[in-house]
C-alpha cells in the first residue's frame, strides 16, 4: 500500500516546476498577461511541449506516453504554482480522454496522430453539457453544427475545437472551416484564454461512440475537474508559501509579524485546509485511473471542495501580506485570480455538488 505520488510523477512535476521558475518569472508572466509579449509565450509553450506535457495521456500505441491521470494531476500542481500562461486541461487532458472513449478506431488513429505531431491542437467547448448560460446552445445535425457556446477553454494554440451538445455527443471542428466565429472573452484571470464561439452550418465530425453513450463526455469532464482542482492546489500552496515567507521578513512592533498568533493561526488554518485537498485530489485521480465505482463522485468532490478551500486560502494569504498583498506590484493577485477562475470552469461548486447528489440518487 502506498498513498502518494510516485518517484516518476514527482520527477516530472519538479521538471515542470523548475522550468517555469527559470523561464517564467513574474515579470515574464506579467508581460504575457498584458498581451505584450507573444514571442516569449511561444517559447514557453514550446519548452513545455518539449517536456512532453502534450502527449501525456495519449496511448503508447498511438505514439503518446500512455500515462495516467495522476501524472496529469502532479503536473497540473506545478502549472498552477507557476501560473503557467498556457493551455493544458483542454487539449492535453480532456481531449485525449474524450477521444479514447468516444472515437472509433479510424478517428482515434487520425486524431492522436495529429496531436502527437502537433498539427492538431484542441480547444474544448463542453459547457453545454453541464450548464448553458446566456442562451447558448449547439445543434448537431447531419455532420453540421450551428449555434453558440461560451467559455471555450484553452484556445491559445488551437487548430480545432472539440464541442459537445446537451446530450453529450462530442464532435470535432477544424477552425478553418466555414461559419466559425471566435470572440475572445476578457476574464479576471489573464493567464489563460476563454472564448465564445459561434457556428453557422459548420462541418463537424461526430465521435462515433458518443452518439450512443454519455460515458466519454462524463469521463472527460471528470478528468478536467480533477486536474483543474490540482491547478488550484498548486496555486494555493504557492500563496501559502509566500505568506509564510513574508511573515518571517516583515516587522511591525519590533517583531516579525509571523511571531504573532493572529498571523500564525491564519497560516496554520491554511495548511490544515489544504493538506486534505492533496489527499482528496490524488485519491480522486487514482479512482479515475482504476475505474472505481465512486470515481465520478470523487471527481465532483475534488472539484467543489478544492474550489471552496482555495478561495479561502487566496483571501487569507493575501491578508497576511497586508497592504502589499493588495498591490499590483507584488503580483500575488495573479494567483488569486487563477484560483477564482478555476473555481468556475467546468462547473461552479454548487452546480458540481448538485451533480454529486444526483450521482448518489439523493
Amino acid at each position: 500500500m502506498y498513498f502518494g505520488l510516485s518517484e516518476d510523477q514527482v520527477f516530472f512535476q519538479d521538471n515542470v516546476r523548475k522550468f517555469l521558475e527559470d523561464q517564467a518569472p513574474l515579470d515574464a508572466i506579467r508581460k504575457i498577461a498584458e498581451g505584450n509579449d507573444s514571442s516569449s509565450k511561444d517559447e514557453l509553450y514550446q519548452g513545455l511541449i518539449n517536456l512532453g506535457i502534450n502527449n501525456l495521456l495519449i496511448p503508447e500505441d498511438n505514439g503518446g506516453l500512455g500515462l495516467d491521470l495522476l501524472f496529469a494531476v502532479a503536473i497540473s500542481q506545478s502549472l498552477g504554482a507557476g501560473i503557467a500562461t498556457l493551455p493544458f486541461i483542454g487539449p492535453y487532458v480532456m481531449a485525449p480522454i474524450a477521444i479514447k472513449h468516444a472515437a472509433n478506431e479510424m478517428q482515434k488513429n487520425t486524431l492522436f496522430e495529429g496531436m502527437v505531431n502537433n498539427s492538431i491542437n484542441f480547444s474544448i467547448g463542453f459547457s453545454e453539457y453541464f450548464g448553458s448560460r446566456d442562451s447558448s446552445g449547439l445543434t448537431f445535425s447531419q455532420n453540421k453544427v450551428s449555434g453558440k457556446t461560451l467559455f471555450v477553454l484553452d484556445g491559445d494554440y488551437a487548430s480545432h475545437v472539440m464541442l459537445c451538445n446537451k446530450d453529450g455527443q462530442i464532435g470535432v471542428v477544424s477552425l478553418d472551416s466555414v461559419g466559425v466565429e471566435t470572440i475572445n472573452l476578457t476574464t479576471v484571470d489573464k493567464t489563460r484564454i476563454y472564448q465564445e464561439m459561434n457556428f453557422d452550418n459548420t462541418p463537424i465530425e461526430i465521435l462515433e461512440n458518443s452518439l450512443t453513450s454519455s460515458n466519454a463526455i462524463e469521463l472527460s469532464i471528470d478528468a478536467g475537474r480533477i486536474v483543474a482542482a490540482a491547478d488550484s492546489i498548486g496555486a494555493s500552496q504557492y500563496m501559502i508559501d509566500k505568506a509564510i515567507e513574508y511573515s518571517k521578513e516583515r516587522k511591525q512592533f519590533n517583531r516579525v509579524i509571523g511571531s504573532f498568533q493572529a498571523v500564525k493561526h491564519m497560516c496554520a488554518e491554511m495548511a490544515a485546509d489544504l493538506e486534505p485537498c492533496y489527499s482528496l485530489v490524488w485519491h480522486a485521480a487514482h479512482s479515475f485511473d482504476n475505474h472505481e465505482a465512486d470515481s465520478r463522485l470523487m471527481a465532483c468532490h475534488a472539484k467543489s471542495h478544492v474550489s471552496e478551500i482555495s478561495k479561502i486560502i487566496s483571501k487569507k494569504a493575501t491578508e497576511v501580506h497586508g497592504g502589499m498583498g493588495f498591490t499590483d506590484l507584488l503580483g500575488l493577485h495573479f494567483w488569486f485570480k487563477r484560483i477564482g477562475l478555476n473555481r468556475h470552469i467546468l462547473g461552479s461548486p454548487e452546480i458540481v455538488r448538485a451533480e454529486a447528489a444526483r450521482i448518489q440518487n439523493l
Binding site: M1, K264, A271, H305, E308
Partner: protein, 408 residues
Amino acid sequence: MNLSYGPEYEDFKKEVQIFCSKYSGINFSDTSKVPLAGTFKSDGPTMTRSKWQKTLIDKGYFARSIPKEYGGYGGESDVIKNRIIASEFALANIPPAMGGQGIDMLVPTLLELGTEEQKQKYIKPTLHGKMIWCQGYSEPNAGSDLASLQTKGEVINDNWVINGQKIWTSTAQYSQMMFCLVRTEPEAQKHAGISYLLIPMDTPGIEIRPLVDMTLKAGFNEVFFTDVTIPKKNIVGERGEGWAVANATLGHERGSLTNPNATMNRLNMLINRMKEETIDGRKIIDNPVYKDKLMKLQGKVIAFQSNSLRVLSAKLNKGQDVKIAAMIQKLVGTELRHELEGLGIDIMGELGTLYEDSPNLRDGGSWQFTYMYYLGLIIGGGTNQIQKNIISERGLGMPREPKVQQGV
C-alpha cells in the same frame, strides 16, 4: 499510488467482517456509560463490557501487539490490520474496544518507560477493563500551559506526600488509579521539576467533586489532594523526568480522538436521517439548501478520510514525509465531527433541539450530545488553538511567541 493491502489482508478483512456481523448491535449489560452510546445500534447480543473486551483481545482485535504476559494478544504490530479492524467496526457500527486514558495513554507509557514490576502489576487489569485510570494533568492554573502545574509532591519517610488540586479529570469517580504529574523539584526549572506518579484513588486524603459539563453529564471531576501518601516506588521514570514521560503519550491521545471511519459512518446516518425526516410533508433530503450543505460536508469527510490514508501510508513506507498531513488530524477531525453533528441538529430544526428523554426524540438525543461532546474534544487534548501553534511552529517553521519579560 497503490491502495491495495494485498491478498493476505483481504482474508483478514473477511474474517473481521464475519466477526462484526455476529456481534452487530451488541448491547452492554453492566454500564450505561458507553461514550457516544446513541451513535451505535443496540439490537444485538448482550454481554458485559469486560467480556466484550476479553473477546476482542482473544481474537487479536485489541491490544494486538501487547505481549501475552501483560495480558495482550501477543501478535506482531500491524498497522494495516489495525486499520482494517477500525474500519470494519465503524462500517458495521460496532463499538470498538474500551479505551480511556489508562488504555490509550498509561499502557503505552508503561510499555516504554515502566519498570518490570509496574508492567506486571498494571497492564493486564487495565487492558481487561478491570483497572480504570484517570489522568491527573490539568490544574486550575495550568491548562494549555501545563508545565506550570503546582500540585506538590515531597518525599517524607520514604513515601511521596502529595498536596494540591487537579481538574478536568474524566472518570475519576470510577477509577482505581490515577497517573499524575506532580511538582517534586521546586528549585528546578519549570519543565525539569515534574515527576510522573501513580496514585491509588482509595488513598486517604483524596476528595473527588464531580464537574458537570454542558451535556449535563458529569464528564469531569475536580480532585483535591491533602497529605496523600503513596509508596516512593510509584513513579515512572526518574524524579524530574515526568514531563518527558508524559510527552511520550500525549501523541497517543491526539491520535485517538478522531477516527475518519466513524465520521464517515456518522455521515451515512445523517443521510438516512435526511431521507426520513420531513417538513410540510416534504423530505429534508429534497430541500436543495440542506442537500448542498450535506454534499459540502461529504466532500470534507471524504477529504479527511483520504488524508488519513496518506498518513497511514507514511507509517508503512519509510521515507514518505507527510509531516503536516499528520499534524492536522486532531484539529481537522474534531472540527469536522462537530460540524457534522451540528448539521444533524439543523436538518431536524425544532426536533433537533430535543434532549434527554423527551417525546419525539431522535436517535436517543445523540446529535445534540455529540455536538457538545466534540466541542469538548476541540478544547481538550491540547486546544485547537494550541494545535495551530504546533502546526505553525513545528510544521511551517514560523517563529515562537516571544517570551513576556517580567515586570514589563
